[in-house]
């Protein structure tokens, strides 16, 4: 499957480069496909949870909390480490890291706060983070800890990473992935400006 993922990504990249003159709203298109996919994922979750199991849902919540803690610690340490390695100011590196893969939002916030350069870094860094999940989620699923892959996906674990988690792990982890992504999506709009201003 991973071979198909990269082949499809490569074909998409080539097709995009060849169709530069043609205006296609890719964000709308991927949004529509994602909605179809989310319905399918919902059907599976519903079909597998016909009898409400409180214990199971408590376990989902517990796993989600641990995954969020891991994601937060890892991302913030990543920001600190990157600031030291790149000789970048701490607030900028932390603000870029605080995007948690949500490139469309972090670019807007950092463009306004700092300017085009940091906005571009945030955009590319968060896109790269999103692309890396295509390797990291299958890898962590093989290592029997897909939660680690979910944490690396950040806020994208509720959209782009969701089908990957479902494909490589199953409905239980897809539910955790969705909950994890939802919480981070709510946190990012506050976290990016906060990181930029407090460090």
């Amino acid at each position: 499957m991973i071979g198909w993922v990269f082949l499809t990504l490569f074909l998409g990249l080539i097709a995009g480069m060849l169709c530069r003159g043609i205006e296609i709203d890719t964000s709308n298109l991927s949004w529509m496909i994602l909605c179809i996919l989310t319905v399918v994922i919902g059907v599976k979750i519903g079909a597998e949870n016909k009898k409400p199991d409180l214990k199971k849902w408590l376990s989902y919540i517990k796993t989600t909390v641990f995954t969020i803690i891991g994601s937060f610690i890892g991302t913030m340490s990543g920001g600190v480490a990157a600031a030291h390695i790149l000789n970048m100011s701490m607030n900028k590196a932390m603000a870029v890291a605080g995007g948690f893969g949500w490139y469309s939002l972090s670019v807007i916030i950092l463009n306004n706060l700092d300017g085009a350069h940091l906005g571009a870094v945030a955009f590319l860094s968060n896109i790269l983070r999103e692309l890396m999940i295509f390797v990291l989620i299958p890898l962590t699923a093989k290592l029997k800890c897909v939660e680690a892959g979910i944490s690396s996906a950040g806020a994208t674990s509720m959209d782009t990473a969701l089908p990957l988690v479902l494909e490589y792990s199953g409905t239980d982890d897809a539910t955790v992935s969705f909950l994890h992504g939802t919480v981070l999506t709510l946190v990012v709009p506050v976290l990016v400006p906060l990181m930029y201003n407090i460090f």
Partner: protein, 93 residues
């Protein structure tokens, strides 16, 4: 974001209310796989169309890649460590 919730809730309602047979599960698996590949294709297409993004790769690529790699790998390391402790204590999978 609200539409993702609406779609998920609609799907959950269908899953709860309808009895799914083997055929329906197979159809769901086919839709899931093709929709997944379509999303990746569209993602690649968008990146390929963005001339500015590809042009700026050399200039800002090192900074962006360093932050992305460190955040991703340290998140994995931290979550691995947390779940190792959690699973050892709880005796889970």
């Amino acid at each position: 974001m609200i539409w993702i919730f609406v779609c998920l809730m609609a799907g959950i309602a269908i899953g709860l209310l309808c009895e799914l047979n083997g055929k329906a599960y197979r159809l769901a698996a086919v839709i899931q796989r093709w929709a997944f590949l379509a999303i990746i294709f569209v993602l690649g297409f968008g990146l390929g169309q963005d001339e500015n993004l590809l042009a700026s790769l050399g200039e800002i690529g090192v900074e962006a890649l360093t932050i992305a790699v460190l955040c991703s790998f340290l998140s994995i390391a931290a979550t691995f460590a947390i779940f190792r402790v959690f699973r050892k204590r709880g005796g889970q999978k």
